[in-house]
Amino acid sequence: MLQQASLVLRDGTTLDDLIMRDTNEVSLRVMTDEELYSHEMERIFAKTWLLLGHESEIPKSGDFIVRDMAEDNVIIARDRDGSVNVTLNVCPHRGMRVCLGEAGNKPIHQCIYHGWAFKPNGDFIGAPVEREKMHGNNVDKATLGLKKARVHLYGGLIFATWNIDGPSFDEYLGDIKYYMDQLFCRTDNGLELLGPPQRFVLPCNWKVPGEQSGSDGFHTLTLHRSLMEGGVMGGTAESIYDQAPGMYGVDVSCEQGHSLRCLEAEKTFKMFADVPFEGKSVEERLNLLTPPGITKEMIPQLFKNLSADQVEQLATIPPQVGGMFPNILIAFIFAPRTDGGSSGALALHTYVPRGPNQVEFVNFIFAEKDAPEQMKRDMLQNSVQQTGTSGTIEQDDADVWPVIMRNARGGVSKHMTLKYQALHGHERPEGWKGGGLLYPGFTKDDTQWNWWMAYHKLMSEA
């Protein structure tokens, strides 16, 4: 029996009316409903771990950046002890923003309204004219700090949550960690953010790009057919649906709603069509088609930081695109060159809710810290040209999402459903080493349905 969902909207609609677990459908209404959105703010965005940035943005003591945890603006600051602190950017005095810039260095954050001052870790220092006790007659200063979030660093990525006693970050990641480690924890010095993120807003609900980040591989064939026409991916414009390049692999997922698409890289690219990978050793494969961002010199680091099984997967059927619930998209894109080199693109996006009808797309672009400067340069260019604001791949996504959103407003249209009925079902491929929920073969709806099930689970818990 399905467990009864506890969420009921004012008009009597239940979560199960919106997310139909018996037929694998989701009502289009979820994209516009304001009441549902306010529940999401509390049940999802105040509860789960959220990605805010990368350690390399705040290398020195006092460095800070300002980001959003959904609609809550936060300060991410490095303190003198080297710790990374995430605090609510709301002055406990009368609600002004304490930090008005987006990035910089400040040993003390002073509110411009009445002058209350705070340390980078959020601790209250004092109010001006100390002798007058303008922070309150009998109030303990220790209670007047900025509200602190719980922080976790993963491969240098800064995650935070308001759920102080909730699941650990590893519990949040679950079985997908084995695969995520292959992307984020594979080199000695890890990733580096190449510059502050691109930011832009789209007129659509956060779940429109959100559900796609649950590894919607299928849309690539049609929406991104310019990749095939441009001759980057295998196949030609005429044979896209026959050859279906990039569609066959193993989609991995878990009940927490995260997912990754693992694809035999050589099958994705035209230029490797005649290169035999069969029978080659792990080292030979890594040398032929080095993972994006890795130089041939860095290959030994992979063996040092990952298990033999993980390296073998990275060399054979690496994770390439996917997402973390609720609002992160991951793109580790191979870009082999005919001269034998390879740089690729490493990008993460967060889809930050800005009201039920708007989402901010934040595009983080990375390279490996140890990569040569020219490679970083190439990767920046690749990423900017393919992802984010002007990216030739994601321009097309940004064109679709607002249109879906407009449809979701129609009195009739909003009762249409999103369908996730092309399912494969969990199946462990022979010899597969990693855990999680596994979907070998053509990419189907399973991982995205798992995304909605993770959504359903959190939304059912008050």
Partner: protein
Amino acid sequence: MTWVTKSTAAPDSTTILRGLSSRKRVPLGSEIYNRLLETLYDEAAALDERRFDDWIAMLSPDLVYQAPIRMTRTGANRDRDVMRTMFHFDDDYTSILMRTGRLQKSAWAEDPPSRCRRFITNVRVGECDAAGEYEVVSYLYLERSRGDNPHNEQLTAERRDVWRAVDGGGYVLAKREIIVDQSVLGMSNLAVFL
């Protein structure tokens, strides 16, 4: 603007550089000023009318075409807000050809195309050190109409160009730096050139 800053997410390595840097001013109303202004108008028309071949013909093969991101800064760094470590556009002649080639096939972001109007104003011109090269700074105001949406998307920017005189008359664009005014773009994609 070529690759001068080392890649870094730390914002304070960025330069303040904006506006016209040339000391040798080409005065408003002079012959060269007028011809460059005419070139900017012709370019805007080619882009508005989606005549991409005509636009490509106005580009130099050594083109550098970049749009750094903009940030909100405070205090001592309040004017250090153009981040030349991260870009909305980071292109050269080859990648621009890739983009225009795509626009003639399945680029759904511009199919159906948006209807654009590029207003170019506040044009200031100076001579570069290299003979026949001119620094041309202009303001761009872009109105973009899409589908049946009655509300246009808009973008304002400063463009810092280098135009080079070519044999047989006319100029080609050798460099463009687009300094957008928004730290968070309100335009849902940049499938159009700026």
